[in-house]
């Protein structure tokens, strides 16, 4: 392939990926409510967004869930990665397998199987069920991110710490955790975005008492295009871009 064809091809793919987003972003500043025609620049829709209390509530719910589930998932995922890296025990391969399968399982299957469990346990759908579901979604990803960072470690560093008298806990606390920190933060940001972006799992595992933003958007979107949804989408994309850039920078560091 010569250079021009390569550039043209890559350009076309990028246009395909970004055209709809650009069109949507443009709409969000368009004074006209219904048509494509440009009726002037406005921040009106962003204003409407801020006065929509149901939407704001949903946004706060989404952020709460994203932050909490990312934190819990980080804790569990890091321990899981540490365990897989450090310990040789029966069922280690099974843990690898399970985490891998959990990562590949379609969202819809995770969603309904957790729903069935919550129903069987007689739990009311709401904050707690949603939190557990999102943690389940995120843990395998955190484990994979942190584990791949552990793999980059020189194992003799951990042996050196033990050699110098550190217990398992001290090794974890003073050596593994600080060294894995960039991976951990990246894992956190990843979980944060996963949770914020999720539609399907939330759809099944939360109830009317705790509505989250993507579900709110979903019910609005089914009724067609709305300028305030455009504005909201643009804001969510910006949050995603910030999180992705940050996590990439952290993973790149000291590589």
């Amino acid at each position: 392939m010569n250079k021009f064809i390569k550039a043209a091809y890559a350009g076309l793919v990028y246009i395909f990926l970004y055209l709809p987003l650009v069109v949507m972003a443009a709409y969000s500043f368009n004074a006209s409510k219904y048509s494509l025609s440009w009726k002037g620049f406005t921040f009106k829709w962003y204003g409407i967004l801020l006065s929509n209390t149901a939407l704001l509530d949903a946004a706060i719910h989404s952020l709460t869930i994203a932050i909490t589930s990312a934190t819990v998932a980080c804790l569990i995922g890091t321990l899981a990665a540490f365990m897989l890296q450090q310990y040789r025990f029966k069922g280690r391969k099974a843990v690898f397998g399970s985490l891998f399968i959990m990562m590949m399982t379609p969202d819809i299957v995770i969603g309904i199987s957790l729903l069935v469990m919550f129903l069987a346990a007689g739990m009311a759908l709401g904050f707690w069920t949603l939190l557990m579901a999102h943690v389940t979604l995120c843990v395998p990803f955190v484990a994979a991110t942190v584990y791949s960072r552990f793999r980059g470690f020189d194992n003799s560093i951990i042996e050196a710490a033990k050699d110098l008298g550190a217990s398992e806990y001290q090794v974890f606390r003073h050596i593994v955790l600080p060294m894995a920190m960039p991976g951990l933060i990246a894992g956190w940001l990843l979980s944060f975005t996963l949770s914020l972006d999720d539609v399907i799992i939330s759809f099944f595992t939360t109830g009317p008492t705790y509505e989250v933003l993507p579900l709110r958007i979903y019910s609005m979107v089914r009724l067609g295009i709305k300028p305030d949804v455009n504005a909201l989408s643009v804001l969510m994309i910006i949050i995603t871009v910030v999180a992705v850039t940050m996590s990439r920078r952290l993973l790149k560091e000291k590589k």
């Binding site: 395909f16 949507m24 494509l36 958007i217 992705v244």
Partner: protein
Amino acid sequence: MKDSLIFRRLVISGILGWIALFGAIPVLLLTGVSFLQRHPSDLIEAVFSMESYARLSDPAIGSMLFKSIMMATMATLLCLLIGYPFAYIVARANKCHARTMLLFVMIPFWTNTLIRTYALVAVLKADGFLNTALIFLGIIDAPLKIMYTQTAVFIGLIYTLLPFMVLPLYAAIEKLDHRLLEASRDLGASRWTTFKKITIPLTMPGIVSGCMLVFLPALGMFYIPDILGGARTMFLGNFVRDQFLIARDLPMGAASSIAMTSLMGIMLLIYYRNLRRSGRTVRL
């Protein structure tokens, strides 16, 4: 030494317990429910029954399943076809460009797929960007009817899932040692032979995981047909959701998602075998 053992045991049993509770039990329960009978008021009745599985071969459900799988397969193949050369270009670009190019694949990858699906509406609808542009350029006279058709769903799947194909492909191609390709050419293989005999086999893990990341969500993402395909189109994802939330037929919903999971199981098996054949250790 004692503290070490306690910490170790705590961690191992904690993680194993967590996996059992949130990984294994829900799936086991789901499997269990799929073998039960529907009950009009209590949702399910504790009677063993294969009825739900038998109903999967109903002509109506069967054709829906077939259509869903065909749609997902086609979307996967097209994503691979578009994604492989693209991933190759990104992976082989110089370092500085590659970073930026990759970032611009990451952003749609991590952006809410619902939002991206919604963004497509503004492009595809009758008075949307695409039709306006085509009419303006004089290519067509009347607006194309794309929205609320299967074509729209198909475009939607490819649009939302393409980044999920590109990223694993990129990772695999990037790891590929360029010297191997040079060695192959040096030994007299043509470009095409090198691609077929060296590049494809060595990037196979990326191809397989990319295909799985596209195929499985393509079956399950019920909101794409909902938004782009209109009310009349029914795919596996919508079907499962409706069994749970509208028809309240839990066993049927469970059985159809178990069918979906088995499909995933088969694909995973092929993937693992593939890895073993190429002599690689399994990585998360």
